[in-house]
Symmetry: C2
Subunit: 366 residues, 2 copies
């Protein structure tokens, strides 16, 4: 058993909330135990609050964040249907790959990485797509997309079109308002701002999305109709066993959500905002230049250019070996030239920021 203790200040996973870690070690319950089903129901109810939705089908999928992306496309795309994807980073790219595998005719709307989603460009890409997808918080670039504006524009033109949002790095870090925005499908991951180990993908789907879904998707494990009959209950008011739920991870998510809602969602967003602002300020003092465009920067995930003449990997290696601090390399073609710094969930605290800044100052000799 490894007792190496890191400050996980990269693009995720983050260090879990202490409540989440404690719950992982609680006595295990069966997936049909009344006590566990109570925890599961409460988890779904707490997720509704965090998502800002009344969607009945709001549940934790049994895999890490990307399984939410897969479930979203698998359950809604019929072969040949047009899916428009805003691509302004790695996770937009991934959406194109996934949607294509389920037979979608994918229309990519490429943006320069580091820039936010261009609503007009997305809208102009195709006159009547069946689904429009975008990333709310691009983990690869540290950029926030205006999902509310996008969803309004899409539905204004065609109320029947579905809007899908990747909220892996936004949920419980910055405001997410599924119902107010009119988002039909959204997924997240537990290992970012939710402050839980990786292993679950919180997911929500609107009544409209549910009605439009593929009745028997090509995937069994992610068949939302079948899994929903276990999580939310079946038409007869019982629970139909589908697959064994990851009970320990769900208990951990339940505990983290309890912590978040006790603190208060606005207070949690405020804590992320303050930590991110102090980080940007401190990085400027070190003469490091932000990568993401001003006005669209995520407080929970900051990207900066690696200074000229500095070896990115060496700095990250020294942070890890000398200070037990993990930060992330850039994604894709920015692997060697950008750093990604996460202040997510339990790590969205000023002590984490000052620790990192002090270590960076020493290593960079500034």
């Amino acid at each position: 058993m490894s007792l190496v203790q890191r400050s996980l200040l990269g693009p995720g996973p983050s260090n879990p909330y202490p409540e989440a870690t404690a719950a992982l070690g609680a006595p295990l319950l069966g997936h049909l135990d009344p006590e566990f089903l109570r925890i599961l129901d409460e988890t779904c109810e707490r997720l509704r609050t965090v998502w800002g939705t009344a969607n009945r089908r709001t549940l934790p999928l049994s895999g890490t964040g990307s399984i939410g992306m897969e479930a979203a496309f698998a359950n809604t795309v019929r072969p040949g249907e047009v899916v428009v994807v805003a691509v302004n980073g790695l996770f937009g790219e991934r959406m194109c790959d996934v949607a294509g595998r389920y037979g979608a005719e994918v229309v990519r709307v490429d943006h320069e990485w580091g820039r936010p989603v261009d609503v007009d460009a997305v809208l102009g890409a195709h006159p009547n797509p069946s689904l429009v997808a975008a990333v709310h918080a691009e983990t690869s670039t540290g950029v926030r997309g205006d999902i509310g504006a996008l969803a309004a524009a899409v539905h204004d033109r065609d109320p029947d079109a579905l809007v899908l949002a990747d909220c892996v790095t936004s949920l419980a870090g910055i405001e997410v308002a599924i119902d107010e925005w009119g988002v039909d499908l959204a997924y997240s991951g537990t290992q970012k701002c939710l402050g839980v180990a990786p292993g679950l993908s919180p997911f929500t789907i609107s009544e409209h999305g549910w009605a439009r879904r593929v009745p028997k998707p090509p995937t069994w494990y992610l068949d939302l109709g079948m899994f929903g009959d276990y999580v939310g209950g079946n038409a007869a008011g019982g629970r139909t066993y589908h697959h064994t739920a990851p009970v320990a991870m769900i208990a951990s998510l339940h505990a983290a959500l309890g912590r978040i809602l006790d603190e208060g969602l606005p207070q949690v967003w405020q804590r992320h905002r303050e930590a991110g602002e102090r980080l940007l300020e401190g990085l400027a003092e070190l003469e490091l230049v932000p990568f993401a465009e001003e006005g669209s920067r995520l407080p929970e995930l900051t990207t900066v250019w690696v200074p000229d003449g500095v070896d990115s990997a060496q700095v990250r290696g020294r942070l890890l070996s000398e200070y037990d601090i993990e930060i992330g390399a850039g994604a894709g073609k920015y692997a060697a030239t950008v750093w990604r710094i996460g202040l997510m969930g339990h790590n969205a605290r000023l002590d984490r920021v000052e620790l990192l800044l002090a270590a960076l100052r020493r290593i960079l000799g500034r």
Copy 2:
């Protein structure tokens, strides 16, 4: 946080090994941290030992047991190919559903539930299937299938045909010998005899299976080529990020495997055998009649008929509320007439057996 403490003596999950629970609470590591990658590599190596294989592609998939079934079919079946499935319980049924979703022409070989796989019947069902699938330990009936005999017969006729075995309830409980038997694909779940919480599906695929796989399967999350480039390393000797691995669950599996191999695999099998034998003996003393056919009974999962005039749900309810003991109802049409009792992993101990027998004796008034 729930501190209700159950004895999980149903068809799974089982109570984890203490080492597995302790590791869940260890400080979290990043999925690209050198310390975590060491744990991941060791986990795969330990899995090879437990599977009885040298397969390079032996890894923990990021979902519960059923995700292994899905990955197996998704990565090997091409639309229109013939897949023969031995169906002698719920998980054989499920295989037909999953294989069909990936476009297989499924040939079902139905058996009476409670009976072992009939090798001749499976062989006679189709002259040249591309894949033959069967369940090693049917969790729904408590029956062991002779996978070694089946694989030998299939490969004797056609060395190119793939053999797939569901080992969810057998791995680390009874002998599994992938290479000796000539099995091409197999999957398990962590929440049974491996003694870990649910959340991972250990998976192994032979070089022949790897060569025969679908290059770009319909599923992104379970694309073994992509995930293998992270877990086992890519052709360049590095690691290609695919999805964030469930690091806490993998650390927990790593710890449980360490415990199992420290005890010794033959000793672990022996412990399961002794617990199962004593349970059968004790159930006979209570005049309870086994459901699974003699000679094919699993020591780790025992099925018995509910006695005439006894309300199955009431007995299970009293076991839970009065003794904090969970046992399982029967599966499918045997829901009300069969009980399933698991003695898996850390629960394969005589004290668990005597506790259950004593509680059953009190409740049944025998």
